[in-house]
Amino acid sequence: MSVLTLPAQPGQDTAPPPVPWRGMAWVTWRQQRALLISVPAVLAAVAVALVIFGLKAHHDYAALVNCPLNQGRQSGACQKLFSHFNSTDWPLANTVSILVALAPVLIGAFAGAPLLARELESGSYRFAWTQGLGRERQVIAKLVLVGIALVILAGAFGGLFSWFFQPFLWTEQMNRLTTEGVFASGGIVFPAFTLVAFMIGAFLGMLLRRVIPALAATLGGYLVIRLAAWGVRKYYPLAVVTGNSKVFSQFGTPSVPGYPWILSTWVTGPGGQPASQSITNGILNGPPGGSVPPGYTEWNRWIPLTHYWPMQCIEAGWLLVIAAALMAGTVWLVRHRAA
């Protein structure tokens, strides 16, 4: 927007209209260019590796899928396939799953912490915050634009990882719900964790005003949230309580896909009283599918696998609330904390 010389005259200063966001998009892009190129580049490189190994894993899995999981019942050929799979494909997948569990904090900390802290540390805020657009709108625009970009990238990457890991869910008898590394690394929870890590980084960067301490503190803050999520997941209001006359009868064996997340099990006796410890142990330690003595009922509190997406929505929901609160806190700090 270039305008010819305006002579300075008093009385022409009415409240200025809001500056367009498109301009701010260019500013954010140019200031964060290194970040906005390097993060997708690294993710793309990892994605290519995931595609290559994922295709191999799916190919090996296709050969295995007709073999029984119980080692005692496997034929010689099946055992060979399994041992090959477990020695080549599984270690790589295990490592990748650990890295992917760390990806949100790595992306979030390195994107979020320097976003504001570097401006304050280097003194360039003395230029940026005296421009006509004002400090608040600049910070809001940066947080929104970079946040959206990270969510899109993380969502795509999480989807790719879910596809990659799918054969191992069966071979390692893991579960989309119960295995922390799988639940939090796919669906909509993975981008939600990335966004929360980014907002933690931005908030702590503004609070501490130095990049390195903000990075360290972001790692700590993310760990706290991750542990909290792991602890609180079993309390989501989606559990089902059912009673049986046969032990674990409706669940089949744990190795069958579709085995749900069992939160707790207890036994009640005649009249609904909790059974004594010895009777409970005797019943529960018996073979699955075995009968329960008459008058006794075995109860389970469990989450079926079909509730995977509602679980994801609940977790992503409270993560987004935290992210929004952190963003509001960051903007508040920018407005009220004098430079």
Partner: protein, 305 residues
């Protein structure tokens, strides 16, 4: 219109006051020189006027009543902080584009022309330019915003003598062509004497002097006379600074009456701006008795504490 108005402005960091009880009125259309020793509060005053720092007490308004830091103030005030901060990884061309996107008014053609005249390449990273070039780049960006008030914090520090002259010439051109008011801080009082028409002196977080240069020079005299009579003579006048020698004593006095008679045996000389400034800086307890500006004084508002 008063381009800057402060009312008992103060800023405290922890337990120490960086600036205290600063009541100042700067009318539009002046180039105001802000001088004072290191740590006197110059940068603090400028940061508060530019809206970077919030005041602990008192108020500061710019551009005829807009609170410092408000959107209208940010729009009309351009600030170049100490060391001319720019984004070191961005080229000059990118800085132009960035500043254009962050402001409503930006004269890109003027900025490009000026950078070309100064020989600053558009594709070199700003961090790799020399100190003088960085200062010129920062000034160009500030001027291209077409502000009504330009605040410059020690802009001449990194410049060689020729660059200093060019810089001040550019500032004067902006003043005369576009009616920009300027607040400029510097340690080079002699150089500012040629261009400044308003003087603000800060010392030890207090405002000592604020007034038009013409009025100040007319309102101060240097009296030279025998040391024996110095105390008696000085007792009758308002003395800013006494410089005592064995035989002769120099008294820098204020006088509201230019035609007042000189005591017999004493000589009266006109003072230069630098002499006035140095005299006040060496006498921290003394401040100018009454504002010498001809513009109306600020009315106290309910925001004062």
């Amino acid at each position: 219109m008063n381009i800057i108005e402060t009312c008992e402005l103060g800023k405290r960091y922890g337990t120490s006051w960086a600036l205290r009880d600063c009541t100042l009125t700067l009318p539009a259309g002046h180039l105001a020189a802000l001088v004072g020793p290191n740590g006197a509060g110059k940068s603090t005053l400028m940061n508060m006027t530019a809206g970077l720092t919030a005041a602990t007490s008192g108020t500061v308004t710019v551009l005829g009543g807009h609170p410092a830091g408000s959107p209208a103030a940010l729009n009309g005030v351009a600030f170049v902080a100490q060391d001319a901060p720019v984004y070191r990884n961005l080229s000059a061309g990118d800085m132009l584009h960035l500043t254009r996107n962050l402001n409503q008014r930006f004269d890109t053609s003027f900025a490009r022309e000026r950078l070309a005249d100064l020989g600053i390449p558009l594709n070199k990273k700003a961090g790799k330019l020399s100190g003088g070039q960085q200062s010129q780049l920062a000034l160009t960006l500030a001027l291209a915003r077409r502000p009504r008030l330009l605040i410059l914090d020690e802009p001449l520090a990194a410049l060689d003598p020729i660059a200093r002259q060019d810089f001040l010439a550019a500032v004067m051109t902006a003043m005369t062509d576009d009616g920009v008011s300027v607040l400029l801080s510097s340690h080079q009082v002699a150089e500012l004497e040629r261009v400044a028409d308003f003087l603000i002196v800060l010392s030890r977080a207090q405002l000592q002097v604020a007034g038009e240069v013409d009025d100040l020079l007319a309102g101060h005299r240097l009296l030279t006379g025998p040391t024996a009579e110095a105390d008696e003579c000085g007792g009758r006048l308002t003395v800013v600074q006494t410089r005592r020698g064995d035989a002769q004593t120099h008294l820098l006095v204020t006088t509201s009456d230019a035609a007042a008679p000189v005591p017999p045996g004493w000589e009266s000389h006109q003072v230069s701006l630098e002499e006035v400034v140095m005299a006040y800086l060496r006498s921290p307890g003394v401040s100018q008795p009454a504002p010498l500006t001809r513009v109306q004084r600020p009315q106290p508002t309910e925001a004062t504490r």
